[in-house]
Symmetry: C2
Subunit: 376 residues, 2 copies
C-alpha cells in the first residue's frame, strides 16, 4: 500500500499511518482497500479508503448520531444558534454508504466493509443515473425490508428490500448537502428519500416532533432525526417507546450475546420520555408493563426453546439474482465472525430466496448450561 499517499490524503504524518496499521486501527481488506476499524480524533470509525495507482478516495465513516433524552431541552440546547430544524424519519434497517469506485457502485456498511449482497441491491435499486452526474457524492441511506439479513423488518410495507437516502455527502471531506437541496436532487433522480416531515421553528419543534413520535410509535416505526437544515450542526435523534421495546425484545431473545449497555440505555430513555410526557399513573403502569414484557417474554421463549432441545437462532433471508453474490455474502458473514447456516436457494420469480439461520452461540451455551444446573 502507498502509505505516503494515504497519509497526505488524510492529512496525517506517515509514521502515524504506520502506527495505526500496526495497532490494527486501520485494517487491510485487499491491496487497494482499507478501513478504520476504530475511530481516531477527526476520523470516524468505518472510514473507508480506496487507493489504487493514481486514485485515492476516502469515504468518511458515518458519524454516530447523538440521542436526545429530553426532546424539548435538547433541541433548545443543541440548536440554540439556529432558528429552525428539519425533521426526517429515522428508519430501522442498516446504515449503508453507496458510492462509485472505479466507475462501479459499491455499498459500504457502517463498519467500513463492502457488503456484496448490499452492493448487488444498491446497483439494482439506485443504478448509475445519479452517479454519472455526481460521481463525487456518497449516498448515505438505510436498507430496510424483510430481505434485510442484518435487521429484517416488515413494518414498512416493502416486499423485499429498499434503500432510503437520508444524507448526501461529498467523498473525502464527508461534508453533507443541505436538507432541502438533498430532497430536491433525490426527487430529480427519482431516488427514495426518507420521509421528510418539514422544517419547524425551535420553540415549536418539540411539540410537533412529539406528535410525530406518537404517530410513528403507533405504527411501530422507529423515530426521527432532527437536523440543522444547512447540515452544519450535527443532527440528533429521538425514538418512540414502541421502537425501544422492539429492540429490547430482539436483544433479550439472544440475551447473552447482547451488551448490557444496549439494554441499559434503552431503559433510561423510557424513564425520561415518561417524565417529559408528564404521564399519569395509568400511563406509567402501561409503560412499565410494556417494558417488562419486552424484556422477559423473549427471554422466557428462548429458555423454553432451549429446554425443548431446540437451537437459539435468528431466521433471516436474502434474495439475490446471482448465486455468486450469496456465496460472497456467506464469506462476508464469516469475516464478521457471524455464525450462519445458509439453506438451499429457492428460485422464485427470477430470483433466489435463501433462508439463513444466524446462531447465537453464547446464548445457546449459557442457557443450556444453566438449565443443566450451572450456577450464575
Amino acid at each position: 500500500m502507498d502509505v505516503k499517499k494515504i497519509a497526505r490524503k488524510l492529512n496525517l504524518p506517515e509514521s502515524r499511518i504506520n502506527e495505526l496499521l500496526e495497532r490494527r486501527i486501520i485494517k487491510t481488506i485487499s491491496d487497494e482497500l482499507f478501513y478504520f476499524a476504530k475511530g481516531i480524533s477527526g476520523i470516524e470509525s468505518g472510514t473507508f479508503i480506496f487507493c489504487k495507482d493514481d486514485i485515492i478516495e476516502i469515504i468518511q465513516g458515518y458519524p454516530k448520531i447523538r440521542r436526545a433524552m429530553v426532546l424539548d431541552a435538547c433541541i433548545k440546547n443543541h440548536f440554540a444558534s439556529i432558528p429552525v430544524v428539519a425533521v426526517e424519519e429515522k428508519m430501522n434497517g442498516y446504515n449503508v454508504r453507496v458510492c462509485l469506485l472505479k466507475n462501479k457502485i459499491y455499498a459500504i456498511t457502517r463498519g467500513g466493509l463492502i457488503c456484496p449482497y448490499t452492493t448487488e441491491k444498491a446497483r439494482e435499486l439506485i443504478g448509475y443515473n445519479f452517479f454519472r452526474d455526481y460521481p463525487h457524492y456518497v449516498l448515505c441511506g438505510e436498507m430496510v425490508g424483510p430481505d434485510n439479513p442484518y435487521v429484517p423488518k416488515n413494518i414498512y410495507n416493502i416486499d423485499s428490500l429498499d434503500f432510503f437516502i437520508f444524507d448526501i455527502q461529498e467523498k473525502n471531506t464527508g461534508y453533507s448537502m443541505s436538507v432541502l437541496k438533498k430532497h430536491a436532487l433525490l426527487k430529480e433522480y427519482e431516488l427514495n428519500a426518507v420521509r421528510f416531515f418539514g422544517v419547524y421553528s425551535i420553540p415549536d419543534a418539540s411539540s410537533k416532533i412529539m406528535q410525530i413520535i406518537k404517530e410513528l410509535g403507533a405504527i411501530f416505526h422507529e423515530g426521527v432525526v432532527i437536523k440543522d437544515p444547512e447540515m452544519i450542526l450535527p443532527p440528533i435523534k429521538y425514538t418512540c417507546s414502541q421502537s425501544n421495546c422492539i429492540d429490547l425484545e430482539y436483544a433479550f431473545a439472544f440475551y447473552n450475546d447482547y451488551g448490557k449497555d444496549f439494554f441499559f440505555s434503552r431503559v433510561v430513555r423510557e424513564g425520561f420520555q415518561s417524565v417529559e410526557l408528564n404521564e399519569n399513573d395509568i400511563q406509567i403502569k402501561e409503560r412499565c408493563c410494556r417494558l417488562g414484557e419486552s424484556i422477559l417474554k423473549p427471554m422466557i421463549n428462548t429458555i423454553k426453546r432451549k429446554k425443548s432441545g431446540k437451537r437459539i437462532v435468528e431466521k433471516v433471508q436474502i434474495r439475490v439474482k446471482n448465486l455468486e453474490t450469496a456465496k460472497q455474502f456467506e464469506e462476508h458473514l464469516r469475516n464478521l465472525n457471524i455464525d450462519a447456516i445458509f439453506e438451499s436457494p429457492i428460485f422464485i420469480n427470477g430470483e433466489y430466496l435463501i433462508k439463513i439461520k444466524k446462531i447465537y452461540q453464547s446464548t445457546n451455551d449459557k442457557t443450556e448450561a444453566v438449565l443443566k444446573g450451572q450456577t450464575w
Copy 2:
C-alpha cells in the same frame, strides 16, 4: 510490617507478599492491620490480617456464594455427591465477620475493613460469653434492620439493628462448622441464628425450597442458602422474585451509580424462575409488570425529584451509644469514598439517632445534565 511472618502464615513466598503490597492487592490499614482488596488464587477478597508482635491472625474473606438459576437442576448437579442439604434463610442486610483481636470484639465488613459502627453494635449484641470459650472462632452473620446504614430494611420486625449468624468459621483456615453443630452452639450461647428450615433429601429439596421461596417472597424476604450440612461443598443461594424486584427498585433510583451487571443478572434470574415455575400467560404478564415497575418507577421518581430541584439522596440512619463511634463511622464512609451528610444527633432513650443522607453524585449529575438537554 513483618512480611516474613505474614508470608509464612499465608503459605506464600515473601516476594509474593511484597508484590501484592506493591500492586495494592494487599492494602495497609495501620501498622498492624492489612486486608486483601482483591482475591488471589486461594485467598478470598476481604481477607483480613492482624499482625502485632508475636501474634498473627488471618480472618478469611467471606466467599461469594454461587447462585442457582434453575433450582432443581442446580441442586442435583451441585450436591450430587451428598444425600441431603440444609436450608437456611438468606437475610437482606450486610455480611459481617465478628471476631476477637487483642481480646476485643471487632466487626469486619465484606471488603475487609473494621467498621466502627458495626463493631459497637457487635459488642452490644454478641458480647464476650461466646468468645471467652471460643476465641479462635469467627461469627459470620448478617446485620439487619432499619438502623443499618448500608442496606436499611424494615422487613424483619427489628426495632434498630440485629445480628443473625449463618456461619461459624475457624480463624486462619476459614473452615466452617457443620450446620447442626453451629445451630446447637448458637442456641447454647443464646446467639441469634438465621432461620433454619431443615434438612431435605436431594430429590425432595427443590420442591420444598420452592415452597419456602414462595412464602418468603410473600413477606418480601430475600431467599435461602442451600448448604452441605457438613459444610464441605460450597453452599448455593436462591432468591425470591420479589426480592430481585426490590433490589432493582433500589438500584434504579440511583440508576447511574449502579453497575449494569447488577441489573442484567437480576433480569435473567426472573426469566429462568418463570420457566422453572412453569408459569401461565397471566403469571408471566404479572411478572413482567412487576419487573417493569421495579425498573421504571424509581427512575421516573428520581427524574421528577431532580426536575423539581431536589437532590438525589438515600436516607439512612445509625443509632449509637457513643458519639465518638459516629465520628469514626463518618471517617469510615469517607475512606470508602461514600459521600454522606450527617445530621445533628438526636438523643432518644439513652442513644443518639443520627440521620445520614448518602449522595449519589453520578445519578445527580447525569439526570441534571440530561434534563438540561444533554444528549446521551
